[in-house]
Symmetry: C2
Subunit: 160 residues, 2 copies
């Protein structure tokens, strides 16, 4: 009942074009898809992993910090960008799950590097069910979950 991990019918199909998605979502909120915002989305789409603000600055120089943070927040409110806190100095940003698909993270406790992973559908639905049951007991309305694995990446493990 579980040997299935290939490209299955994922519930939230990722739009092929993050830019189109961002533009329409922003517009729906009465906001504009400016070149600065486009650069942000481009930087996030180009990175294979979540990135910090310094990362973004080195990928796309010339964006004022205040503007970058402001736009990241605007994009987050529209559901285009997701921010994750890891306890490190900086927050990490990535495209939201509606664009990237539902996934989780491997986080290196030594160097902080993050990689995306996906779990098989059966495990996911089991998680959802268990969490929903626990939420119900507490009077919680569930919205979404995050599941991160902490460990040592191959290079940090080799160095230890």
């Amino acid at each position: 009942m579980d040997a299935r991990s290939e490209g299955e019918a994922v519930t939230s199909e990722a739009s092929s074009d993050p830019h189109a998605e961002a533009a329409s979502r922003l517009q729906a909120a009465g906001q504009r898809y400016t070149s600065g915002r486009r650069e942000l989305v481009e930087a996030l789409a180009g990175a294979a992993r979540p990135v910090t603000l310094p990362d973004i600055e080195s990928i796309a120089p010339g964006l004022a910090r205040s503007t970058a943070y402001r736009n990241l927040e605007a994009l987050e409110r529209c559901g285009v960008v997701h921010r994750l806190e890891t306890g490190g100095d900086h927050a990490y940003f990535e495209l939201a799950e509606s664009l990237l698909g539902h996934h989780h993270h491997l986080i290196c406790v030594t160097c902080g590097a993050i990689a995306d992973i996906e779990l098989d559908g059966e495990t996911e639905s089991r998680i959802d069910d268990s969490l929903a049951a626990a939420a119900r007991e507490s009077g919680f309305v569930p919205l979404h979950h995050s599941l991160d694995l902490y460990g040592r990446c191959s290079s940090c493990d080799a160095a230890a």
Copy 2:
């Protein structure tokens, strides 16, 4: 008072006395279990949920902030305390899983309140297996995982 969860074969049995545990772990690291540290552990053990530093200050007034943070860090290094980052203003602290048992969190996206939950053992082992498989593919050495459910707590949901 504490709901006796079905005493399943939990891998890490919680020590009945957090203080004894803290004392021995600190000592093993060449550190002392001072009264200030004892107060911290007492505060964490007394709270049924993760707490912020301001919470701690109101529970146990009189501890200097710098000392509180320093000791929380010392206790974290010894595996007595666990810090969790939620993206809110403050970090949350709770006793480590070796004392509290493995559990997860419900986090209210509106007010930030956190509650502890436990999942059934079968779901847990399934999660572990899936994560371990994903980690292996990435050359990651798994250490531990965190699984948090974001949603709206009953009072925030009622207010909306």
